[in-house]
Symmetry: C2
Subunit: 301 residues, 2 copies
């Protein structure tokens, strides 16, 4: 393989992904590991990165590395201070990480913060939003970013105007595997109708969420609710409750969902039931387009 022009890195809490990028902006190789930020002490980041991208490096040249995500958190490699919205999703300065290996120069993309109307933060999603905008610089609308902490970001005139995070993904993971509900959720099956009814219930009188959760357990005990239906209804309840709160973000708006996997598909399905035809953008495409923009910033272009 040719040596990459630069290396794009998406470094989240639980996973590290890297792409070798050609000079014309294409990923020519990809690698990933479980060396997420969550398990690394500050001095373990450089070794974790080199273990993954070492084979791509040119011994006679400095290869730029541009990274986004939790790698820039206070507990990460080095803190990349938040930029406050409203602002473009990416902007200078990027933060230089203290790498000792002379073959790499690592820049970290800062996350975004919001003080009002509610305190909020993101790290990594700003790069995906930038990727969405890279393909359509004049686009105004709302970007929905499903995940552990799902986010809705309002974009206008090239800026993130405001955003809001929900603990939906982290709650689903705990409720389905760690809470009392886990007893009725073995296996991996899925009942689409149960998901749809969960969304519908969640959107209607969302204040009942914590009671409806217990109902799943009771239906398992009393009526033999199948695990596939219980798990899907749980997901629907959480996403439906999120949609109820986020109604102003999507009602009558142009919505882009970042992601093409199962979770993003569920958000698309739930919005479709509300008459919203959200466009889905692949997360990898969005993050690479965003990191490519950040690479231009890092190079001072």
């Amino acid at each position: 393989m040719d040596r990459p022009d630069w290396i794009a890195v998406d470094w989240g809490t639980s996973r590290l992904r890297a792409w070798a990028m050609s000079a014309d902006g294409r990923p020519v190789a990809q690698a990933e590991s479980e060396q997420g930020m969550g398990g690394l002490a500050p001095d373990a980041f450089e070794p974790a990165l080199l273990a993954l991208v070492g084979p791509w490096l040119d011994p006679d040249r400095v290869t730029p590395v541009v990274a986004c995500g939790m790698v820039g958190a206070r507990q990460g490699w080095i803190e990349a201070a938040y930029r406050a919205v409203p602002c473009p999703p990416l902007g200078p300065p990027l933060t230089r990480a203290p790498a000792r290996d002379p073959r790499i120069a690592v820049s970290i993309v800062p996350g975004l913060s919001q003080a009002r109307p509610s305190a909020d933060v993101m790290r990594g999603e700003e790069t995906q939003v930038a990727g969405v905008l890279a393909a359509a610089p004049d686009w105004d609308g709302v970007v929905c970013l499903p995940g552990t902490h799902s986010k809705w970001a309002e974009v206008s005139a090239g800026e993130v105007v405001s955003f809001r995070s929900f603990m939906t993904g982290e709650m689903f993971a705990w409720l389905s595997t760690g809470s009392v509900l886990r007893h009725g959720m073995a296996g991996t099956g899925w009942d689409e109708r149960a998901f749809d009814s969960g969304v519908s219930d969640g959107m209607s009188r969302p204040e009942w969420l914590t009671a409806r959760l217990f109902t799943l357990r009771a239906e398992g005990l009393l009526a033999g609710l199948p695990p596939d239906a219980a798990r899907a209804r749980l997901s629907g309840l959480l996403i439906g409750t999120e949609l109820a709160a986020a109604r102003a973000w999507w009602l009558g708006r142009d919505v882009v969902i970042v992601g093409e996997g199962t979770l993003a598909g569920l958000y698309a399905r739930a919005l479709r039931a509300q008459g919203i035809a959200a466009r889905q953008v692949a997360a990898e495409d969005a993050v690479l387009a965003g990191l490519t923009r950040a690479r231009a910033l890092a190079a001072g272009a």
Copy 2:
């Protein structure tokens, strides 16, 4: 000590409590252990009980033991089939547990189930409700039972008419110690004003719960929200959201809260802010009064 007339047992998921009861209905000794139902195989229940109450037993007489709680669950000592509401909180038959030791005869109180309007179950709380009614047989009102899965039970004409459970307590435990929010909640302090503002927020637009949870994290990162305030506001948000959903249970109703500890006090405080002067009944008094009623049933009285 005199040998007890009978033994009252409250056997929950994480704890086992027993009282030696005199013939005139007073507790004359008390013992407890961490041998909750959650950690015991079916054949481990009798040894766990004997380890606790063995010293109270008369070798020449069978001592009746009456137990309520998760001990009667499917994964407990022996399943005590639910009784369906509407029904009195206690009623025959009690379930006989298979004890081999000739010195004890163990009866287990069945829990209550509800099929409509929403599936629900309780084990243990029915005994506390019976205890509340023992002191006031003609009382009509609503019993609020804070706990891991808090419950609201409507009582009329000596029967539990309906009830509803919320996952509030289990969610608080996980959110404050297991979720991303744990980072901002170290220590054990408490900020009453933050609790009150959490209740107020939770009651107003409760659909925002999962977003407001993340706001606690963001305020910790951006504004240095103190752990005492973060933990108290989390509690207030969850209880306020529960009160918003349960409004029909308490608005204009005569409410009794079972419990006198910290958690019950928080429910009382939150209701007081809504103009509801709930009466608090000590949980131990309620469960002992209820088990005394169950003892009469077990004896065929």
